[in-house]
Amino acid sequence: MFEALVEGLGLIFQAHVLVYFALGCIIGILLGAVPGMGGAIGLVLLLPFTFSMEPVAAFALLLSSWASTSTSGAITSVLLGVPSTAASQATVLDGYPMAKRGEAARALGASFTSSAIGGVCGAAALGISLPLILPVILAFESPEQFMLGLLGLAMVGSLSGQSIAKGVAAAMFGLLLATIGLPESQAIPRFTFGTLYLLDKLPLIPVLLGLFAIPELMELAIKDVSIARTGKSDGAGRGLLDGVRDAFRNWWLVVRCSVIGAYIGMLPGLGASIVGWVTYAHAKQSVKDNSQFGQGDVRGLLAPEAANNALRGGALIPTLTLGIPGSVGTAILMGALIMHGLRPGPSMLSSELPMTFSFVWMIAIASVVATLVLLKTVNQVAKVALLPGQLVVPGVLLFVFMGAWLGGASIGDWLSCAVFGVIGFFMKRGGWPRPPVILALVLGEILERSFQISTRIHEGPGWLGRPIVIFLLLVIITTIFLAARGVARDKLAGKVPAGEASEKNPAVSLPISLILFVVFVWAGYTALDWPPPVRQFPLLITVPGALLSLIVIIRDQLHLFATKKAKGTWNVTLRQASNDAWLAEALPFFAYVFGMIGLTLLVGQKIALPLFIAVYVVRWGHYRKRIAAAYAIGAWAILVFFYDQVMSLLFHPSYLALWLQPVLPSAVPDWLFL
């Protein structure tokens, strides 16, 4: 085995392989930093170029780009509060508050270093366990996957902020969202309101970008400040070095999270979307003082960043050895394997073992190379945090909305993004935690599927007696107990919660809980008409969801009455609540966003987005028209030359395009604006 390990490393150190490796790293770094892109899209773009290459060179290009995206994915999470990929969701929670505090360079330094360590540790963990790993993977059938999903959901307790009830109700809302569309059991649409768009389930990326990015951008727009609220950065080299030191100082946490990431990656189906949350919750539960989590605790950043890099190596193992791809990225890689004459299967652990090890090496080295490249650029990149907010907002909105567009090329994705932007804003202002919604949205489908398959196969709940299921059940109970104890302790100690879900505004929270109650009751009532396999999961969600919403309603009401008593009159109380929630400023902002979507329907993205940017910069940002025009032209160039020509995206066929295209003379280059 050691020989195969060395031979695998030797395969990489060939001149032409190194060239492709470097190219892949650069492309991966660039793609990872664009919201919505992620590793899979990079693989799709690069795959055709590998057709004529020999296998090691081809995989050097593909794997280095795939691994590098998760390292650079932290850039927008930290600097803008915008998770660029599903894997970097949890990075936002502490990374962005650090940037706000003027510690962008430190945060980036820490996250890149943690990524590198994660990549190496993950690869090492796999290298060590490779000969023993197959029985472990095969032991995880549907019952175990269900329990693992439940364990992920139990992490909600650590992501709930001050109120467990709100956290669990938010998770129930996320689970309910996961039931939208056609279930796997039968072609009966659930909660689609007759729309085609929702038949396919609610897509993760538009919801994620809406829920997290838009409220942060709105805050920037309303407060009219730079991302670094202090207006100062943490100094050129010092912040960066502090970040690197943070990663090494917390080496044990980083190693633990890397190993968790690598092993979660190995289990097909769970993957990138939950690993960040699971390791974040693990970090929060396992450190002595977690009072700063959510406000910019560097450990909340180190954990998910280590894990999402380690995950890549883990995900490769079932793909190579069993031909089971656990994600879109690994499915593409498996296609590439077959294309290059490699047959996924046991031979990858015997005759092709050096090749398998070369792949693991590639991922580990790519994480280190990407980190070194990114560390070189941190001081320049971190300056984004000092730009005036009004200049940052429209440009980032362009990337957010185009990121939402990438997956489905549907105006429904934009509406989802905008609607969840509104929901995210009100949740944030009302002290409702947003991470449980996303975590549950990701896990909902896995939970329903694995529960129903388990029940079908075992013809009842007999699967609950399986040894791993019992073990995972005990872990879940411990996790919930620890989370509940943490919240209770904080309350007893009179600690004022901060970070996510820390805002106290019962006048905003109450309508949310009322709406949630109505939604749960309506959804449960609607589900009663469906056959058992279709209604089972919605009913399991809506009953506790409605009860928890009711509890929150009662609490919110009590808080609201107490506030009213303190303020004197309802008029003063509600005006104060509205001011605290920035409702007056939020409405025009959302009008801009929905106006942009409306305009897109009429004239298409290539006109609507630049126009939106120009109008925003002049009217909201109060910049000169010349600056607005230059900004709009830049945005238009990105749309036309990057998204259209390079990415070959299908843009929305606007009414203008439908009317104009048939009548335009052939000499007119309509692709520039339609």
Partner: protein, 375 residues
């Protein structure tokens, strides 16, 4: 080696630049070089192939490969670009071409289609396939149903053993999925006693369940069976094929799937067990499904009022492309199989066949789905 690296790097960069330049050049093109007199040419035009799958799907790779060879074989050598529109399981892409594509043939649909969805009036099927202009179909390959060797007490060594077992757990996607219906009907025909375990979202998940032993029978596309089931399961002695689904030739006759010549077809297995050719409503339903759903997995579709000369030019170009040695060579290398060509007339016949389904067959298909949906 270094020379090869430099050559490949150069090619990669040149391709990247050419993507930009060619795309920029596309701006010079128009959509209104309509038919007029004489043979139609797509010279100077850009054809957009809207694929109803996401960019990472295997079908997109087939579509991209076809797009590349269409460029070389369509009259006028137009630029052919591929756009993915996977929303609503590809239905958005169907509707995009049906309702919004220009009539000049510069926007066409490529990807899977579900005549079964139309037949069973599944959610979202607000259109009929006969509304589109048929441009040609693509045969991706038939199906192979296989089982774990430990599915039968005492071991499973030949398809006939199946009848003896009572412990067959067939792992499948939603019971309305065409591939699942026809495969599980095949088991019905053979008299196998199986339980349909629905809920797996993809073939990859089903393979995982087969490997772990959670289920012990499944179906897969023949090319996936060869590349992913054989090395992991069959070669290791963990699984055996039960039967392959026959394919329909251009005359509508059932023939052995050439991709898996050693796997006996369903009628042959039936004959070996029962000593006669299959018949009855189950077999009629299978035959209907083979025609409706399994002969032509992917299609090129034009908008309803597509310019007839442009449509003809496209059909000729597609046939030429799929018959070319360059396409065969590249498909074999990239896909590990060569997709078959279905002419537009046969395509139209298949698309229109939903109207001719016998009532008892339709009833049987619905009852079969109902049976497999039981929880």
């Amino acid at each position: 080696m270094l020379n090869a690296a430099i050559r490949n790097t150069g090619r990669l960069l040149a391709l990247m630049v050419s993507v930009l330049l060619v795309s920029c050049d596309a701006g010079e093109n128009s959509r209104d070089s309509a038919s007029g007199d004489g043979p139609h040419s797509f010279a100077g035009e850009t054809i957009t192939v809207v694929i109803g799958l996401d960019a990472s799907a295997g079908g997109t790779t087939v579509g991209r490969l076809l797009a590349k060879h269409l460029e070389e074989n369509l009259a006028g050598n137009p630029t052919v670009i591929v756009n993915n529109m996977p929303g609503a399981s590809g239905l958005n892409a169907h509707l995009h071409v049906l309702l919004r594509a220009p009539d000049d043939g510069t926007t066409v649909y490529y990807g899977p289609r579900s005549s079964l969805g139309e037949l069973l009036e599944l959610p979202g099927f607000s259109f009929k396939y006969s509304q589109f202009t048929p441009l040609g179909g693509v045969q991706i390959g038939g199906l192979v149903v296989y089982a774990r060797t430990d599915a039968v007490p005492g071991g499973f060594s030949k398809p006939q053993d199946l009848v003896a077992t009572e412990a067959l757990r067939f792992g499948g996607m939603p019971p309305e999925h065409g591939r699942m219906i026809v495969s599980s009907m095949g088991l019905d025909l053979l008299g196998a006693n199986y339980k349909y375990i629905s809920g797996y979202p993809s073939s990859g998940n089903i393979r995982a369940a087969i490997i772990s032993g959670e289920v012990n029978a499944a179906t897969d596309a023949a090319h996936a069976y060869l590349s992913q089931v054989v090395p992991v399961l069959v070669d290791e002695g963990h699984a055996l094929p039960i039967f392959s689904m026959p394919m329909q030739n251009d005359d509508g006759e059932l023939i052995q799937n050439a991709m898996v010549p050693d796997v006996p077809s369903l009628p042959k297995v039936y004959e070996s067990i029962y000593g006669e050719a299959p018949s009855g409503v189950v077999w009629d339903s299978i035959e209907t499904l083979l025609e409706l759903d399994q002969t032509m997995q992917h299609v090129f579709l034009g908008p309803p009022r597509m310019d007839s000369a442009a449509a003809e030019t496209f059909r000729v170009g597609l046939e030429k492309a799929m018959a070319s040695a360059a396409f065969h060579e590249e498909a074999q290398h990239i896909l590990s199989y060569v997709p078959g060509f279905i002419g537009h007339e046969r395509q139209a016949k298949i698309l229109g066949a939903t109207a001719d389904v016998a009532p008892e067959v339709l009833e049987h298909i619905k009852a079969h789905i109902e049976k497999n949906s039981r929880y």
